[in-house]
Structure formats: structure tokens, C-alpha cells
């Protein structure tokens, strides 16, 4: 009994109620332990958005301490307990917890789950014309291993000693001797990493094996190429961090000394361990993951930007093949640059030169990709819809982020800039007005497909402009603070003269951050309001060309009403001689 590729049956109006003789799934099978990639995608997406907001809130708290060091925080300061905020003043340990958890949550519980778990799961099967992912039950397991990891992460705030407080990087020896929250961090990471590994297997098999008839690799939307490379990064780069986490757990729980050197003294007392370990071992294993991880953060975003730009310029992407080669090369190179995070650890010149060279080389595909996107705008019939605003803003923002990375990748300048606010400015430009803006573009773009309704355009534009202005007030001053020598992870910048010199910028940044928080209100309102009041849409409200727009909005079980077939390249917009300015991949007409 063999299983053929059958025409997957959805239903015309795309509600999840079956209409052809199959029994209805109970609520908990349809919405909770669902194996449908669309439900799982929404589960990941909503969970991630909640954690993005939570992680951002942690930062908004930190910004009070940075703007007004040692001052009690009115109202909120009295709600967080006497350990965290004695007398309403932030305790240094709590500041460190907020810092470590902000980074961890934004990266592992926010951006990646939204970009890969959310958008990847929802869009990829639709864009390749598949009825679901290759392993639907594994997909469900992925989410339900992820969520407990998230809950454990957040619950760690309530442990004695509080949450992890050794940076999102968890460097030993400090992390080895930190309070219990660090152990919770490690277990949570093991769960989250496992979830990610299972997901990446699913993505690779799905994209390779389940493409629709006629959908060759060179006809795939760039978004799918980006997700495929991302899946390989997750598959091969995460396990070393899992191994390292096991070793740090052994150090913390079994008294081993993987990362503890001999002769370590803590608060005047020699540590009673065997020693002989190496803290740099953790750094190597951590950054072996964490560098490819930043490409995991950016690649899906680039994929979204590609889709939105092509659609809203009404012309094909410029340099599609170049984009694909670049993103593959980028993925490959991302595995051999990691020690540029470790230039200050005393490595010799041969190895630091090696990593500096690979780091310079890896900037090339990024520039190529950005150039292709910018060239894609030229001569386009541009519609500045809400998604397009975010996607267009991505370009200069990512450029700033990328360019400011260069002095960090060059060892000579990194000596000065390492671990200063310059670094924070650099990576936030790429992830915040970079990736996060692209993710917002994706939400505005694909919301109609997922819900059957449009989001409100005016609120979207308000959300964009407020966020765009605020976010630059937050991160641009950080470059100047860093160049003045201000260190990151500093509880009170004013203890140093050079810190006092740039303290005024801290006030500016903090107000920018709080403004950025307020700027999200139109988005949150829009998101929920449009579920009930948004204008209803048919399959293809954006007049787009890729396969997901052939399915109903929202798609039913099995996604497509008839088996999709692909007839042409993914971005056939404004083809001369055609009556419409777009020729969808799935339409047969000559």
C-alpha cells in the first residue's frame, strides 16, 4: 500500500471545520496539540510576540537605572519586591538579571521562534505547494518542547537568587558559581535547542522533498532559500552549545571543572574544585553556535524583505540568482568566523588574523544581498503599504548595522571597541530596526493570509513612523557612548568620568526606548482589532505571485483546493505584453 502525492483537499472558505465526511477534531487536537503547520506557526508566532514584549519590558526597566542611576522608580519600583528593587531602587544583581534575560529572551524566545517557528512554519509549506510539513507530529512536538523551555526561563525569576545574571553569553567562571537561576537557564536552553533541532530537520526535509510539481530550486521564492540555509545553520551549529550546556550543568551540579581553572579564588576563598578546566572552552562552544545564530536572526528577515519588496515594486527581484548564491555562501562562512567575539582572550596573531580575514570575507555576501535589494527598488512602481515601509526601512538600518560591524571585525579597532556600547549599537541595528522591522513587514504582509482579514493601513503607518523615529533615538547614540569608552553591562555608568561624559545620552536613549514601547500600542491594537473588524480578503489581496496566494485566506486543512502546479519563476511582475502587472507562479495561462 503506497502513498501517492494526492491533491490535498482544503475547503473554499478556509475555516478549520471539515466539510467532507471526516469527523471533526476535538478542540484540544485542533488548536492545542495540533499537527497543522498553520496552527503551529501561529502558536509559535503568538508565543514569540508575547516574549518579545516581555523581553522589551525588561529593557525598559533597565533603561530607568541607566538614565537615573540609583534613583527609585516610581510606582513600578515598589511592585517588584525588596530583593529586586529595595526601596524602589534597582539592585545591581537585578540589573544583571534583566540584562541576561533580555538578551536570552529576545533572541531565543522572541526573534528566532517568530522568524523560523512562526513565519517559517506558516509560510514555507504554502510557498512550496505542500499540504503540510514533512513530519507534522514532530512539528507539534517541537512546539511543545519549546514552550516548557520558555516557561522555565521566565519562572527562573522567582528562584532564590533570581534569574540568570551572567549575560546571555553565560561566561564561566562567573556562570559556574552563579545562583540557581543559571541552572534553570541551562535546562531551559537544552529544551529550546532540542525543539530547534527537531524543527530544522522538518524544514530541510520539507523544502527538499515536498515541493509542488514544476517548483525547481531556481523557482523557489527567496524566502524559502533563506529558510533552508537557516535550517542548516540551526541543525549543525546548535549541538555544540547543547554539549557546552551539559558541561556547565555538570560544573554546577556535579562539581566538575570543565570551565574552572586551577587556583580560582572567589571572594577571598579558594574554590574547592579540582580545577584544570578552561573558561575559553565555553566561549568557543558558545560562539560556535552564537555566531551562526545571528545569521539565523537575519536570514529569514532578508527573505521577508525580498518577498515584500518584489510585491510592492511590481517588478522582479534584481539579481535573484546572485541572492541565492550569496545566502548559501553566507551560511557556509558563518561557521568559521566565531572567534571574532573572542579577540580579547589572548589568542595569538595567526588565529586572530584567520578569524579577522573570514569576518571580512563574510561581509561581502551581506553587501551583495543588500545591493540586490536596493537595486530591486530602482524603476519600480512602488506601493508604500505598511509592510513596504518596514521592508524599505530595513535597508538603511541593516546597512548601518552591517557597516558598524566592520570595526569590530578588525582586530585592531576591536581592542578598543570590544564590550562597549558600540557593540550594543551595532548588533541592535541589525536585529531591531533590521530583523524586527522585517518581521513586522511579514506580519502586515501575511496577516491577511492567516486570518482572512487585512490589518488597518493607517494604524500600520503610525506604528511604522513612530517606531522608526524612536528606534534610531535608542540605538544611534550608543555608538558615541561606545567610542567614548563606555562599557556594556555596567550597572552605574556614572562611576566613571568617561561614563559621566555621555550620561546625557543615556537619558535620551531611555526616553527613546519608552517611546518605542508606546509606539507598539497601535500595532497591538491593530493586531487584535483587525481579527474582528479588518476588511475581509480573498486569496490574493496583494496581487502577489508566489504559491501561498493560491490558497484560501485562511487556508483549510491540506492548504490548497486543487493540487498546485508551478509554471514560472517566482517574481514575474510587470512582464511586458501581459494584461496584468503580475503573473502568479500557479496560473497556467500562457
Amino acid at each position: 500500500m503506497s502513498v501517492q502525492h494526492t491533491a490535498a483537499k482544503g475547503n473554499g472558505h478556509g475555516h478549520a471545520h471539515e466539510g467532507h465526511g471526516e469527523h471533526e477534531l476535538p478542540f484540544w487536537r485542533k488548536y492545542i496539540f495540533s499537527v497543522d503547520h498553520k496552527v503551529i506557526g501561529i502558536q509559535y508566532g503568538v508565543t514569540a510576540l508575547v516574549f518579545l514584549l516581555f523581553g522589551f519590558t525588561l529593557m525598559m526597566l533597565m533603561r530607568w537605572q541607566l538614565a537615573y542611576p540609583g534613583r527609585p522608580l516610581p510606582v513600578i519600583g515598589n511592585l517588584l519586591g525588596e530583593t529586586a528593587m529595595p526601596g524602589g531602587v534597582m539592585a545591581p544583581e537585578f540589573y544583571n538579571q534583566l540584562g541576561a534575560m533580555h538578551g536570552t529572551i529576545m533572541v531565543f524566545l522572541g526573534v528566532v521562534p517568530l522568524a523560523v517557528g512562526g513565519f517559517g512554519n506558516f509560510v514555507v509549506p504554502l510557498q512550496i505547494g505542500a499540504p503540510d510539513m514533512a513530519f507534522p507530529r514532530l512539528n507539534m512536538v517541537s512546539y511543545w518542547v519549546f514552550l516548557p523551555g520558555c516557561l522555565l526561563m521566565v519562572a527562573s525569576f522567582f528562584l532564590p537568587g533570581g534569574a540568570a545574571q551572567s549575560g546571555w553569553t553565560s561566561y564561566p567562571p562567573l556562570s559556574d558559581i552563579a545562583p540557581t537561576g543559571q541552572t534553570a537557564w541551562l535546562f531551559a536552553m537544552v529544551l529550546i535547542i532540542t525543539s530547534s533541532l527537531l524543527g530544522s530537520i522538518n524544514f530541510i526535509v520539507t523544502i527538499v522533498q515536498l515541493r509542488a510539481k514544476g517548483l525547481s530550486y531556481w523557482r523557489l521564492p527567496f524566502f524559502v532559500h533563506a529558510q533552508l540555509v537557516t535550517a542548516f545553520l540551526l541543525l549543525l551549529a546548535f549541538p555544540p552549545l547543547e554539549a557546552a550546556s551539559v558541561m556547565q550543568l555538570m560544573d554546577r551540579l556535579a562539581g566538575t571543572s570543565f570551565f574552572l581553572p586551577s587556583g580560582l579564588v572567589v571572594s577571598g576563598d579558594p574554590l574547592k574544585v579540582a580545577g584544570g578546566g578552561n573558561p575559553l572552552l565555553w566561549q568557543h562552544l558558545f560562539w560556535f553556535l552564537a555566531h551562526p545564530e545571528v545569521y539565523v536572526l537575519i536570514l529569514p528577515a532578508m527573505g521577508i524583505v525580498a518577498e515584500v519588496i518584489a510585491n510592492n515594486t511590481r517588478k522582479p527581484l534584481w539579481g535573484y540568482r546572485l541572492l541565492v548564491y550569496s545566502v548559501v555562501f553566507l551560511g557556509f562562512m558563518s561557521f568559521v568566523v566565531w572567534a571574532h567575539h573572542m579577540f580579547m582572550t589572548g589568542m595569538g596573531t595567526t588565529m586572530s588574523t584567520f578569524f579577522q580575514t573570514t569576518t571580512m570575507i563574510i561581509s561581502i555576501p551581506s553587501v551583495v544581498i543588500l545591493t540586490c535589494f536596493i537595486m530591486s527598488l530602482y524603476g519600480g512602481n512602488i506601493r508604500f503599504t505598511a509592510p513596504m515601509l518596514f521592508a524599505t526601512a530595513f535597508l538603511p538600518m541593516f546597512a548601518i548595522g552591517g557597516l558598524t560591524g566592520l570595526p569590530l571585525g578588525l582586530t585592531a579597532s576591536d581592542i578598543y571597541l570590544h564590550d562597549t556600547f558600540y557593540v550594543i549599537g551595532h548588533f541592535h541595528y541589525v536585529v531591531a530596526p533590521g530583523t524586527l522591522f522585517a518581521l513586522f513587514a511579514g506580519i502586515y504582509y501575511w496577516y491577511p493570509k492567516a486570518t482572512g482579514r487585512r490589518m488597518n493601513e493607517t494604524l500600520g503607518k503610525v506604528h511604522f513612523w513612530l517606531s522608526f523615529v524612536a528606534i534610531n533615538f535608542v540605538f544611534m547614540p550608543m555608538f558615541f557612548q561606545g567610542m567614548a569608552g563606555l562599557s556594556r553591562r555596567l550597572y552605574d555608568p556614572t562611576i566613571y568620568a568617561h561614563g559621566r561624559g555621555v550620561q546625557a545620552l543615556n537619558v535620551l536613549i531611555s526616553f527613546g526606548a519608552w517611546g518605542l514601547g508606546l509606539a507598539q500600542i497601535p500595532f497591538i491594537v491593530n493586531f487584535f482589532m483587525s481579527l474582528k473588524n479588518g476588511a475581509r480578503v480573498a486569496e490574493n489581496p496583494w496581487n502577489a505571485t508566489t504559491l501561498e496566494w493560491a490558497a484560501p485566506s485562511p487556508p483549510g486543512h491540506g492548504n490548497f483546493v486543487t493540487e498546485p502546479v508551478v509554471y514560472r519563476e517566482p517574481y514575474e511582475y510587470s512582464v511586458p505584453g501581459k494584461s496584468t502587472d503580475y503573473s502568479p507562479q500557479f496560473r497556467a495561462e500562457a
Binding site: 527538499v208 542548516f232 549543525l236 578552561n278 575559553l280 568557543h284 560556535f288 589568542m347 595569538g348 596573531t349
Partner: protein, 104 residues
């Protein structure tokens, strides 16, 4: 399951038994060699070489890698590359000798 498949498998059974015996022999050899107390570099080379041969046989024959598809080879070659990077670079970086002066 058709007769052709049955025959196929039967043909291969011989190979599987040969590999099984070879693995046991190589295990005995590797333990025996350890008693020779060779110099460190030689001991490592011989032990790992034997291990690679054993692993190669398990992979090629038991795991059918010898007749596997290109896509699997591609994944494994990519993995092998990054495995080597992971093994080599941290060790090279940690143990590069320098005088301790900045920039040396």
C-alpha cells in the same frame, strides 16, 4: 515484499557477517596494540586509524552508506567539514604559542 527484494537482502547477508567478524577482530587488535605502549603520537594515530576503519565499515555496510544517495553524501560531507572546524580551531586557537606581548 517481492522475491527480488528477498534475494537482494540475502546476497548482502554475507557482507554483514564478514563486517561483524572484522569489527570484533579489529577491536581485539586495537586493545592488543595498546599493550605495546607505543609513543603518544604513534599510539593516537594507530588507535584512531583502526577506529576509522571500524567506523567506516559500520557506516558503509551496516548503514548502507556505500550505496546511498547524493543528497545524503552532501549533508555528511558538509557536516564532516564543520566537525573538523569544531575540532581544530578551538584547539589551534587555545594552544597557539606566543610570547604574551600584545600583537605577538
Amino acid at each position: 515484499m517481492d522475491a527480488a527484494q528477498h534475494e537482494d537482502v540475502n546476497k548482502h547477508m554475507g557482507k554483514y557477517y564478514v563486517v561483524f567478524v572484522a569489527l570484533l577482530c579489529l577491536t581485539a587488535i586495537t586493545v592488543g596494540v595498546s599493550y605495546l605502549h607505543l609513543t603518544r603520537p604513534l599510539a593516537i594515530t594507530v588507535a584512531l586509524a583502526i577506529a576509522c576503519i571500524k567506523a567506516g565499515m559500520v557506516a558503509a555496510v551496516f548503514m548502507h552508506l556505500i550505496s546511498e544517495r547524493k543528497v545524503i553524501y552532501a549533508v555528511l560531507i558538509l557536516t564532516a567539514l564543520f566537525f573538523i572546524v569544531l575540532l581544530a580551531l578551538p584547539n589551534l586557537t587555545t594552544f597557539e604559542h606566543h610570547s604574551g606581548m600584545p600583537g605577538t
